[in-house]
Amino acid sequence: MPGNFLSTRFDAMLAWGRKFSLFHYPFVTACCGMEYMSAACAHFDIDRFGAGWTRFSPRQSDLLLVVGTIAQKLAPVLKTVYDQMTEPKWVIAFGACTVSGGIYDNYAVVQGIDRIIPVDIYIPGCPPRPEMVLDGLLKLQEKIKTQGQVWRWNKKTS
C-alpha cells in the first residue's frame, strides 16, 4: 500500500490538514514566556498561521512548545509531558536556554532539551523576537509538509 500514487496523495492531504491546525502545548517556564505572550497575542498574532489554539493538556496538543530555561529539577516533568503527548507530535525549542542551555552553563540547568526529548525546530535568541518565533513556526510547517506522514497503515515512519 505505501509509496504508490494513492498514499502519497493521502499523505499530502494529511500533511496539509496537520500543518495548518497545530494545537500547541506551551511548556512555559522563564523569560522567553514574556516573548511567547507577545508572539501569541494580538500584536504579532501566532493565530494567523493556525497555531494559535493553546491546549494545556498533552492529550489534545500536537506541538510541544518548550519555552524558557529547563532546570535539572524540571527535566523529568518535561520528559513526562512529552511522553504523554499523542502521536503525531512535534517539538519546538524556543529560546537559547532550550537550544543549548544558553547563558546558564552550570550545575542547575539542562544544556539543551534535545538531551531529554527529540526536537524538530530550534529557535535561537534570548529571547527570540516574535518574528523569529513565527519564522520558526513556518519552518515547522514546511517540515511537516515535506516529511512522510505518520498514520495507521503507513508502515513508513517519519
Binding site: P26, T29, E35, S38, A71, V77, L78, I103, V109
Partner: protein, 441 residues
C-alpha cells in the same frame, strides 16, 4: 519518595498535583493539594523548578559581565533589576552618576514597572477567565516595549543601565514614543477598569479571598504592592529615595483589606502613579538634552585626515553606537576613569582611549571595587529588590545575593489557601505575581 504532605494526609482525602507545568502556575511551581471534595485541607508548595544557579554563576563572572544575568531575574521588569545591581556596585565604588543618567534611569524603571504590573494583572485576569483584559494589556505593553526597544536595543533583556550611567542616550524622538505609550496605557487602564472593577464574577473570585493581615504580612517579610494592599504604605522610593525620586511627586496607593482584589487595585493605581512619574521626567530630560551637532566625519575621511593632523570634528563611527557618542558622554556616564569605559570614539582614535578601553575589558584587569560588603535595595515590581554584594577586591564578586521580594510573598501561599476552594488558588497565586527567576534565582 513520600513528601511531607503525603505523610500527614488523611487516608480518605484526595491528593492532587497543581504541578509545575500548569497554565496558572507560570510553569515553575508545584502545589500538592490535599482535598476534601473541592476544599483544600492542607497544601505543600514546592519551588526550585527554575533554579538556574544565578548566585553561583555570578561568582564566576566579572562585575561588568554579570549584568546580563540581572536582566533575567525579574524578567517582567528587567530594567529595575539593572538599576538595583548597578546602584549597589556604585555604592561600593562611591561613584557619582550624572543628572541626566539618573533621569533616564527613573524613566526606564517606571516604564519597566508599568509593563510589570500590566503583565501581572493580565495573567491574573486571564486565569480568572477575563481573556479580553489579557489581550488589552498585552497590547499596551507592546507600546511600552517599543519605547524601551528604541532606546536600549532590546525589548526585554536590555542590560542598558551600566555601572556609572547608561549605555546610550535616548533616541531622537523618544518623547513622541513615550507620550504615545502613556496615552495607550491610560486608554487600556480605563477599558480594563470598566471591565473588571465592578465585574460580579471577578469580585466574587477575588473580594475577601486570601485576606492578609498587616502583622502577618510583616512577619512573612512582604514588601511592595502586596504589603501596601494590607494597609502599610512602605515604598522604597519614598522611604529611602534613590536616583531623583525625591524630586518627583507621586502618591503611594494603599489597600484596606489585603485581599486579592486589593492587590489588584493597588497595582492598578500604582500604574497610574508611574505614568504620572514618566510624564514628570519628560521636561527634566528635555532640559538636560545635549546639543549634538549633526553629521561628522566618515571613518575613512577621519583616518585620511588623521595622517596630517588630529580630526577636530566628530567622527561618525557606526549606527549602533548612536547615542553613546563622545559629545553626549558626559551626560550619560560618570566621569571617573577607573570604573567607566571611555567613549568609543576615544577608544578608536586616541591611544589613551584605547588603553582605557582595554584596561576596562581585558581579562584580569576590569573593574575592581574596594574590599567590603554593601546592601542596596530598590523598589522592584514586587517589592524591595535588594542586592547584597561582598567584594574581596578582585574583579569578580566574592558573593552576590539577591533579596527577591516574591520569594517572601509566595512563602505565605500555603497559609493563604488553607481552607479555601481549589478555584481560589488561581487568583491568589495570580495576585502575588510570582516570577520564577526572582523566586528560585
Amino acid at each position: 519518595m513520600t513528601t511531607r504532605l503525603q505523610a500527614q494526609a488523611r487516608p480518605d482525602s484526595l491528593l492532587l498535583n497543581m504541578g509545575p507545568s500548569h497554565p496558572a502556575m507560570h510553569g515553575t511551581i508545584r502545589i500538592m493539594l490535599e482535598l476534601d471534595g473541592e476544599r483544600i485541607l492542607n497544601s505543600e508548595v514546592e519551588v526550585g523548578y527554575l533554579h538556574r544557579g544565578f548566585e553561583k554563576t555570578c561568582e564566576h563572572r566579572t562585575w561588568f559581565n554579570l549584568l546580563i544575568y540581572t536582566d533575567r531575574l525579574n524578567y517582567v521588569s528587567p530594567l529595575i533589576n539593572n538599576v538595583g545591581y548597578v546602584m549597589a556596585v556604585e555604592k561600593l565604588l562611591g561613584l557619582e552618576v550624572p543628572e541626566r543618567a539618573q533621569w533616564i534611569r527613573v524613566l526606564m524603571s517606571e516604564l519597566s514597572r508599568v509593563s510589570d504590573h500590566l503583565t501581572c494583572l493580565a495573567a491574573m485576569a486571564m486565569e480568572c477567565g477575563a481573556f479580553t483584559a489579557f489581550l488589552y494589556k498585552m497590547k499596551a505593553r507592546e507600546f511600552l516595549w517599543d519605547v524601551i526597544e528604541q532606546t536600549t536595543g532590546a525589548r526585554m533583556t536590555t542590560s542598558y543601565i551600566r555601572i556609572g550611567g547608561v549605555r546610550a542616550d535616548l533616541h531622537a524622538d523618544y518623547e513622541a514614543a513615550v507620550r504615545k505609550g502613556v496615552d495607550e496605557t491610560r486608554k487600556v487602564l480605563k477599558d480594563v477598569r470598566g471591565l473588571l472593577d465592578k465585574n460580579k464574577i471577578f469580585l466574587n473570585r477575588t473580594r475577601d479571598i486570601a485576606v492578609m493581615t498587616p502583622e502577618n504580612a510583616i512577619s512573612y517579610g512582604w514588601t511592595g504592592p502586596c504589603l501596601r494592599s494590607t494597609g502599610i504604605a512602605y515604598d522604597v522610593r519614598k522611604a529611602q529615595p534613590y536616583l531623583t525620586y525625591d524630586r518627583l511627586n507621586f502618591e503611594v496607593p494603599v489597600g484596606e483589606r489585603g485581599d486579592n482584589f486589593d492587590r489588584y487595585m493597588v497595582r492598578m493605581k500604582e500604574m497610574e502613579q508611574s505614568l504620572r512619574i514618566i510624564e514628570q521626567t519628560l521636561p527634566a530630560l528635555q532640559a538636560s538634552a545635549p546639543t549634538v551637532e549633526a553629521g561628522g566625519l566618515e571613518p575613512a575621511e577621519a583616518i585620511r585626515a588623521s595622517r596630517t593632523r588630529r580630526p577636530e570634528s566628530r567622527v561618525r563611527l557606526s549606527p549602533n553606537l548612536e547615542g553613546s557618542e563622545k559629545a553626549v558622554y558626559p551626560g550619560i556616564m560618570a566621569a571617573d576613569k577607573r570604573s567607566v569605559p571611555p567613549p568609543k570614539e576615544d577608544a578608536y582614535t586616541t591611544i589613551e582611549g584605547l588603553i582605557g578601553h582595554f584596561k576596562h575589558f581585558m581579562k584580569g584587569h576590569g573593574l575592581r571595587p574596594p574590599k567590603g560588603e554593601v546592601y542596596f535595595a530598590v523598589e522592584g515590581g514586587n517589592g524591595e529588590l535588594g542586592y547584597y554584594l561582598v567584594s574581596d577586591g578582585s574583579d569578580r564578586p566574592y558573593r552576590l545575593h539577591l533579596r527577591g521580594p516574591c520569594f517572601h510573598i509566595v512563602a505565605a501561599l500555603e497559609e493563604l489557601i488553607r481552607g479555601r476552594y481549589v478555584a481560589d488558588v488561581i487568583p491568589t497565586f495570580g495576585s502575588m505575581n510570582m516570577i520564577g527567576g526572582e523566586l528560585d534565582r
